[in-house]
Amino acid sequence: MLRKKNTAPVVLAVSSGGGHWTQMQRLAPAFSGADVHFATTDASASEQVGAHNFYVYPDANKSTPIRLMLCVLSLVWIVLRVRPDVIVSTGAAGGFLAIRIGRLIGARTMFIDSIANARRLSVSAHLALNVADHVLSQWPGVAAKTGAEYRGAVI
Protein backbone atom coordinates (compact mmCIF):
# COMPACT_ATOMS: atom_id res chain seq x y z
CA MET A 1 0.00 0.00 0.00
CA LEU A 2 2.90 2.38 -0.49
CA ARG A 3 1.62 5.38 -2.33
CA LYS A 4 3.28 6.70 -5.40
CA LYS A 5 5.54 9.67 -4.99
CA ASN A 6 3.92 13.09 -5.31
CA THR A 7 0.39 11.91 -4.72
CA ALA A 8 -1.73 13.00 -1.80
CA PRO A 9 -2.18 10.34 0.87
CA VAL A 10 -5.63 8.77 1.10
CA VAL A 11 -6.92 9.32 4.63
CA LEU A 12 -9.89 7.59 6.24
CA ALA A 13 -11.05 9.61 9.28
CA VAL A 14 -13.35 7.41 11.40
CA SER A 15 -15.34 8.50 14.43
CA SER A 16 -18.60 7.84 16.21
CA GLY A 17 -21.12 10.68 16.39
CA GLY A 18 -21.49 13.29 19.14
CA GLY A 19 -18.29 14.29 20.91
CA HIS A 20 -16.09 11.92 18.88
CA TRP A 21 -17.19 13.66 15.68
CA THR A 22 -16.78 17.13 17.23
CA GLN A 23 -13.17 16.24 18.10
CA MET A 24 -12.51 14.89 14.59
CA GLN A 25 -13.80 18.17 13.12
CA ARG A 26 -11.38 20.09 15.33
CA LEU A 27 -8.53 18.00 13.92
CA ALA A 28 -9.73 18.32 10.33
CA PRO A 29 -7.13 21.01 9.41
CA ALA A 30 -4.55 18.21 9.72
CA PHE A 31 -6.02 16.63 6.58
CA SER A 32 -5.81 19.64 4.29
CA GLY A 33 -4.16 18.66 1.03
CA ALA A 34 -4.81 14.96 1.62
CA ASP A 35 -7.51 12.90 -0.08
CA VAL A 36 -9.70 12.64 3.02
CA HIS A 37 -12.74 10.44 3.50
CA PHE A 38 -14.92 10.72 6.60
CA ALA A 39 -16.84 7.82 8.16
CA THR A 40 -19.17 8.33 11.12
CA THR A 41 -22.37 7.01 12.71
CA ASP A 42 -24.52 10.11 12.23
CA ALA A 43 -25.79 10.65 8.69
CA SER A 44 -26.64 14.29 9.41
CA ALA A 45 -22.93 15.04 9.86
CA SER A 46 -22.56 15.08 6.05
CA GLU A 47 -23.92 18.64 6.25
CA GLN A 48 -20.55 19.69 7.70
CA VAL A 49 -18.23 17.95 5.26
CA GLY A 50 -20.39 17.57 2.17
CA ALA A 51 -21.75 14.31 0.78
CA HIS A 52 -18.50 13.82 -1.12
CA ASN A 53 -16.26 11.19 0.45
CA PHE A 54 -18.67 10.65 3.34
CA TYR A 55 -19.65 7.24 4.73
CA VAL A 56 -22.02 6.16 7.48
CA TYR A 57 -21.68 2.99 9.59
CA PRO A 58 -23.95 1.66 12.36
CA ASP A 59 -23.19 2.72 15.92
CA ALA A 60 -22.33 -0.19 18.22
CA ASN A 61 -20.50 -1.14 21.41
CA LYS A 62 -19.63 -4.33 23.22
CA SER A 63 -23.14 -4.63 24.70
CA THR A 64 -24.83 -4.62 21.27
CA PRO A 65 -23.36 -7.73 19.57
CA ILE A 66 -25.61 -7.84 16.52
CA ARG A 67 -25.10 -4.19 15.69
CA LEU A 68 -21.40 -4.74 16.30
CA MET A 69 -21.38 -7.37 13.54
CA LEU A 70 -23.18 -4.97 11.19
CA CYS A 71 -20.66 -2.31 12.17
CA VAL A 72 -17.76 -4.65 11.31
CA LEU A 73 -19.25 -5.53 7.92
CA SER A 74 -19.95 -1.92 7.13
CA LEU A 75 -16.42 -0.84 8.07
CA VAL A 76 -14.88 -3.69 6.03
CA TRP A 77 -16.79 -2.38 3.03
CA ILE A 78 -15.73 1.23 3.71
CA VAL A 79 -12.05 0.34 4.21
CA LEU A 80 -11.94 -1.82 1.07
CA ARG A 81 -13.65 0.88 -0.92
CA VAL A 82 -11.50 3.80 0.28
CA ARG A 83 -8.22 1.79 0.39
CA PRO A 84 -6.66 4.34 2.77
CA ASP A 85 -2.94 4.89 3.24
CA VAL A 86 -3.74 6.26 6.67
CA ILE A 87 -6.58 5.73 9.15
CA VAL A 88 -7.10 8.26 11.93
CA SER A 89 -9.82 7.73 14.53
CA THR A 90 -11.12 9.68 17.51
CA GLY A 91 -13.09 6.61 18.73
CA ALA A 92 -15.00 4.82 19.76
CA ALA A 93 -15.58 1.10 18.99
CA GLY A 94 -15.97 1.69 15.24
CA GLY A 95 -12.66 3.52 15.14
CA PHE A 96 -10.83 0.60 16.71
CA LEU A 97 -12.52 -1.82 14.29
CA ALA A 98 -11.60 0.31 11.27
CA ILE A 99 -7.97 0.37 12.45
CA ARG A 100 -7.97 -3.40 12.99
CA ILE A 101 -9.36 -3.92 9.49
CA GLY A 102 -7.05 -1.28 8.02
CA ARG A 103 -3.96 -3.06 9.32
CA LEU A 104 -4.90 -6.06 7.14
CA ILE A 105 -4.44 -3.94 4.02
CA GLY A 106 -1.30 -2.23 5.34
CA ALA A 107 -2.73 1.15 6.32
CA ARG A 108 -0.84 3.24 8.86
CA THR A 109 -3.10 3.90 11.82
CA MET A 110 -3.57 6.38 14.66
CA PHE A 111 -6.16 6.16 17.43
CA ILE A 112 -6.76 9.36 19.42
CA ASP A 113 -8.71 8.63 22.59
CA SER A 114 -11.53 11.05 23.40
CA ILE A 115 -10.70 13.92 25.72
CA ALA A 116 -13.64 12.64 27.78
CA ASN A 117 -11.37 9.90 29.10
CA ALA A 118 -9.59 12.05 31.65
CA ARG A 119 -8.63 9.34 34.15
CA ARG A 120 -8.29 6.13 32.13
CA LEU A 121 -8.18 4.99 28.53
CA SER A 122 -11.40 3.86 26.86
CA VAL A 123 -11.86 0.16 26.11
CA SER A 124 -11.37 0.91 22.41
CA ALA A 125 -8.08 2.72 23.06
CA HIS A 126 -6.85 -0.19 25.19
CA LEU A 127 -7.59 -2.59 22.35
CA ALA A 128 -5.94 -0.22 19.88
CA LEU A 129 -2.68 -0.24 21.90
CA ASN A 130 -1.84 -3.63 20.45
CA VAL A 131 -2.88 -2.79 16.89
CA ALA A 132 -2.44 0.87 15.95
CA ASP A 133 0.89 2.51 15.09
CA HIS A 134 0.06 5.28 17.54
CA VAL A 135 -2.45 5.53 20.37
CA LEU A 136 -2.76 9.03 21.80
CA SER A 137 -4.39 10.11 25.03
CA GLN A 138 -5.32 13.77 25.44
CA TRP A 139 -4.32 13.68 29.12
CA PRO A 140 -0.63 13.47 30.13
CA GLY A 141 -1.49 11.52 33.30
CA VAL A 142 -3.42 8.88 31.40
CA ALA A 143 -0.69 8.58 28.77
CA ALA A 144 2.00 8.14 31.44
CA LYS A 145 0.35 5.15 33.04
CA THR A 146 -0.92 3.31 29.96
CA GLY A 147 1.70 3.33 27.21
CA ALA A 148 -0.34 5.76 25.13
CA GLU A 149 1.32 8.97 23.93
CA TYR A 150 0.39 12.51 24.93
CA ARG A 151 0.88 14.96 22.04
CA GLY A 152 -1.74 17.67 22.72
CA ALA A 153 -5.48 17.97 23.11
CA VAL A 154 -8.49 19.42 21.31
CA ILE A 155 -9.30 21.93 24.06
Partner: protein
Amino acid sequence: MIFATVGTQLPFDRLLTNLDSWAARNPNMHVFAQCGLSTAKVPHIKTTPTLSQSAFRHHFASASLIVAHAGMGTILTAAELGKPVILMPRRAALNEHRNDHQSDTAREMAKLSNVMIAEDEAALHAALNTAMSQRLCTQSPKHETHPAQLEGLIDVVRDFVWAVPSKEAPVQFHKGAVST
Protein backbone atom coordinates in the same frame (compact mmCIF):
# COMPACT_ATOMS: atom_id res chain seq x y z
CA MET B 1 -33.98 30.03 26.02
CA ILE B 2 -32.33 27.16 27.88
CA PHE B 3 -31.19 24.32 25.64
CA ALA B 4 -30.76 20.91 27.22
CA THR B 5 -29.11 17.91 25.58
CA VAL B 6 -28.45 14.36 26.76
CA GLY B 7 -26.92 12.85 23.63
CA THR B 8 -28.45 10.11 21.54
CA GLN B 9 -26.90 6.89 22.85
CA LEU B 10 -28.56 6.39 26.21
CA PRO B 11 -31.57 7.81 28.08
CA PHE B 12 -31.04 10.28 30.91
CA ASP B 13 -34.40 10.65 32.66
CA ARG B 14 -32.92 12.03 35.88
CA LEU B 15 -31.56 15.14 34.19
CA LEU B 16 -34.82 15.79 32.36
CA THR B 17 -37.13 15.32 35.36
CA ASN B 18 -34.86 17.50 37.53
CA LEU B 19 -34.88 20.17 34.85
CA ASP B 20 -38.65 19.84 34.46
CA SER B 21 -39.24 20.46 38.16
CA TRP B 22 -37.20 23.66 37.87
CA ALA B 23 -39.08 24.70 34.72
CA ALA B 24 -42.38 24.21 36.59
CA ARG B 25 -41.28 26.86 39.10
CA ASN B 26 -39.87 29.17 36.43
CA PRO B 27 -42.63 29.30 33.79
CA ASN B 28 -41.15 32.40 32.12
CA MET B 29 -38.08 30.52 31.00
CA HIS B 30 -38.43 28.58 27.78
CA VAL B 31 -36.67 25.21 28.00
CA PHE B 32 -36.05 23.05 24.96
CA ALA B 33 -34.46 19.61 25.31
CA GLN B 34 -32.96 17.06 22.96
CA CYS B 35 -33.93 14.01 25.00
CA GLY B 36 -32.62 11.03 22.98
CA LEU B 37 -34.01 7.73 24.23
CA SER B 38 -35.29 9.19 27.52
CA THR B 39 -38.91 8.36 28.33
CA ALA B 40 -39.55 10.62 31.35
CA LYS B 41 -42.73 12.72 31.29
CA VAL B 42 -41.61 16.35 31.31
CA PRO B 43 -44.71 18.54 30.83
CA HIS B 44 -42.89 21.85 31.36
CA ILE B 45 -40.21 21.28 28.75
CA LYS B 46 -40.47 21.08 24.99
CA THR B 47 -38.54 18.03 23.75
CA THR B 48 -37.32 16.32 20.61
CA PRO B 49 -35.59 12.91 20.53
CA THR B 50 -32.83 13.84 18.08
CA LEU B 51 -31.51 16.84 16.16
CA SER B 52 -29.42 16.99 13.02
CA GLN B 53 -25.92 18.40 13.46
CA SER B 54 -26.97 21.74 12.00
CA ALA B 55 -30.18 21.98 14.06
CA PHE B 56 -28.17 21.09 17.16
CA ARG B 57 -25.75 23.92 16.51
CA HIS B 58 -28.60 26.31 15.77
CA HIS B 59 -30.33 25.62 19.11
CA PHE B 60 -27.00 25.71 20.90
CA ALA B 61 -26.14 29.09 19.39
CA SER B 62 -29.50 30.67 20.17
CA ALA B 63 -29.63 29.43 23.80
CA SER B 64 -28.53 31.62 26.68
CA LEU B 65 -27.69 28.64 28.89
CA ILE B 66 -26.93 24.96 28.18
CA VAL B 67 -27.85 22.09 30.51
CA ALA B 68 -26.40 18.73 29.54
CA HIS B 69 -24.88 15.38 30.40
CA ALA B 70 -21.09 15.60 30.65
CA GLY B 71 -20.56 14.69 27.00
CA MET B 72 -17.54 16.06 25.17
CA GLY B 73 -19.56 17.16 22.13
CA THR B 74 -21.52 19.51 24.37
CA ILE B 75 -18.47 20.73 26.29
CA LEU B 76 -16.47 21.45 23.13
CA THR B 77 -19.37 23.19 21.44
CA ALA B 78 -19.98 25.29 24.57
CA ALA B 79 -16.32 26.33 24.63
CA GLU B 80 -16.41 27.16 20.94
CA LEU B 81 -19.58 29.25 21.15
CA GLY B 82 -18.79 30.77 24.53
CA LYS B 83 -21.93 29.43 26.25
CA PRO B 84 -22.38 28.87 29.97
CA VAL B 85 -23.09 25.19 30.58
CA ILE B 86 -24.35 23.18 33.55
CA LEU B 87 -23.19 19.56 33.37
CA MET B 88 -24.80 16.64 35.16
CA PRO B 89 -22.54 13.57 34.88
CA ARG B 90 -24.23 10.25 34.09
CA ARG B 91 -23.75 7.64 36.80
CA ALA B 92 -23.18 3.96 36.10
CA ALA B 93 -24.78 2.99 39.43
CA LEU B 94 -28.08 4.44 38.17
CA ASN B 95 -27.69 2.68 34.79
CA GLU B 96 -27.16 6.02 33.10
CA HIS B 97 -23.95 4.92 31.36
CA ARG B 98 -21.64 1.94 31.08
CA ASN B 99 -19.08 3.52 33.42
CA ASP B 100 -18.42 6.68 35.44
CA HIS B 101 -16.13 8.44 32.95
CA GLN B 102 -18.53 11.40 32.79
CA SER B 103 -17.70 12.19 36.42
CA ASP B 104 -14.00 12.27 35.49
CA THR B 105 -14.73 14.50 32.51
CA ALA B 106 -16.91 16.82 34.59
CA ARG B 107 -14.29 17.15 37.32
CA GLU B 108 -11.63 18.15 34.77
CA MET B 109 -13.94 20.46 32.83
CA ALA B 110 -15.11 22.25 35.99
CA LYS B 111 -11.84 24.20 35.65
CA LEU B 112 -13.28 26.07 32.65
CA SER B 113 -14.99 29.29 33.67
CA ASN B 114 -18.14 28.63 31.66
CA VAL B 115 -18.75 25.21 33.23
CA MET B 116 -20.80 24.39 36.33
CA ILE B 117 -21.32 20.87 37.66
CA ALA B 118 -24.53 19.56 39.24
CA GLU B 119 -24.58 16.05 40.69
CA ASP B 120 -28.23 16.01 41.77
CA GLU B 121 -31.56 17.84 41.63
CA ALA B 122 -30.79 20.32 44.41
CA ALA B 123 -27.43 21.21 42.86
CA LEU B 124 -28.99 21.56 39.42
CA HIS B 125 -31.67 23.94 40.70
CA ALA B 126 -29.07 25.95 42.59
CA ALA B 127 -26.87 26.17 39.49
CA LEU B 128 -29.82 27.21 37.32
CA ASN B 129 -30.80 29.93 39.81
CA THR B 130 -27.20 31.15 39.99
CA ALA B 131 -26.93 31.26 36.22
CA MET B 132 -30.18 33.22 35.99
CA SER B 133 -29.30 35.68 38.74
CA GLN B 134 -25.85 36.35 37.31
CA ARG B 135 -27.49 37.07 33.98
CA LEU B 136 -25.09 34.67 32.39
CA CYS B 137 -27.90 34.57 29.92
CA THR B 138 -26.99 37.87 28.33
CA GLN B 139 -23.22 37.77 28.39
CA SER B 140 -20.88 35.27 26.83
CA PRO B 141 -18.11 34.19 29.16
CA LYS B 142 -14.57 34.23 27.92
CA HIS B 143 -13.91 31.57 25.35
CA GLU B 144 -11.36 29.26 26.94
CA THR B 145 -9.31 26.89 24.92
CA HIS B 146 -5.61 26.25 24.69
CA PRO B 147 -4.73 26.80 21.05
CA ALA B 148 -1.17 25.57 21.55
CA GLN B 149 -2.42 22.14 22.62
CA LEU B 150 -4.79 21.94 19.66
CA GLU B 151 -2.21 23.22 17.16
CA GLY B 152 0.31 20.73 18.53
CA LEU B 153 -2.09 17.83 18.12
CA ILE B 154 -3.05 18.92 14.59
CA ASP B 155 0.65 19.06 13.66
CA VAL B 156 1.20 15.54 15.01
CA VAL B 157 -1.72 14.19 12.97
CA ARG B 158 -0.61 16.08 9.84
CA ASP B 159 2.96 14.77 10.14
CA PHE B 160 1.60 11.25 10.53
CA VAL B 161 -0.66 11.60 7.50
CA TRP B 162 2.17 12.83 5.26
CA ALA B 163 4.93 10.56 6.58
CA VAL B 164 6.20 8.32 3.80
CA PRO B 165 6.78 4.82 5.13
CA SER B 166 10.26 3.62 4.29
CA LYS B 167 10.60 0.36 2.40
CA GLU B 168 13.41 -0.96 4.56
CA ALA B 169 11.48 -0.62 7.77
CA PRO B 170 7.78 -1.01 7.15
CA VAL B 171 5.67 0.66 9.81
CA GLN B 172 5.09 -2.26 12.07
CA PHE B 173 6.21 -1.38 15.53
CA HIS B 174 4.49 -3.02 18.43
CA LYS B 175 4.30 -1.22 21.68
CA GLY B 176 3.78 -4.25 23.79
CA ALA B 177 2.31 -1.82 26.27
CA VAL B 178 0.35 -3.51 28.96
CA SER B 179 -1.94 -1.35 30.98
CA THR B 180 -2.61 -1.96 34.58
